[in-house]
């Protein structure tokens, strides 16, 4: 998503990250990596649960679909860093919410490495923007 920041901006949207660590960990991580988006946290997982995101099974969070790409990532310059903060069993998710508060896109990960294609999200944003223009 960071690489698509310009496309997100052009779509007139904002990106919000919601993690699980402490506010201090959240701030340190985002500052250290120059994350240009809002960085928030829900340490008790209440925000994640409210969107229907649950903790995964061992296979979903540590099976080959997860550790193989993780290993490749660790060997590249794109790795995030070490585990140890938040909840590694929490499955991630991505949503698009329009200005009326309506969910326009929902992706609930089937395993820890299951991220939606950026183009899918951007396509939904383009549709939301077009509707706003026509209104």
């Amino acid at each position: 998503m960071r690489d698509d920041r310009e496309r997100i901006d052009r779509a007139g949207a904002g990106l919000v990250l919601v993690g699980l660590g402490t506010p201090e960990q959240t701030g340190e991580f985002c500052a250290a990596r120059g994350v240009p988006f809002a960085c928030l946290t829900s340490p008790d997982r209440s925000a994640h649960r409210s969107f229907g995101l649950r903790r995964g099974t061992p296979d979903q969070v540590a099976g080959p679909r997860v550790w193989l790409p993780w290993l490749r990532n660790q060997m590249s310059d794109r790795h995030q860093g070490s585990f140890g903060q938040g909840d590694v069993a929490q499955l991630p998710g991505t949503f698009v919410v329009d200005r009326s508060g309506t969910i326009r896109y929902a992706h609930r990960a089937r395993h820890s490495n299951d991220n939606p294609p950026n183009d899918d999200v951007l396509r939904v944003l383009a549709a939301v923007r077009e509707e706003a223009r026509e209104a």
Partner: protein, 44 residues
């Protein structure tokens, strides 16, 4: 168990914490423009 919110339905509006530890409503981020919410399992 409450069913998970679906596309076309209203987004939940939980309280979350910013990096300063202040409580904020998530809806504040889609009030002015659409928002992509990326829920992560951990930072760092």
């Amino acid at each position: 168990m409450t069913p998970a919110p679906q596309v076309g339905g209203k987004a939940p509006d939980p309280l979350v914490l910013d990096a300063a530890g202040e409580e904020v409503r998530l809806s504040g981020f889609w009030r002015e423009r659409p928002a992509i919410l990326a829920f992560l399992r951990h930072f760092g």
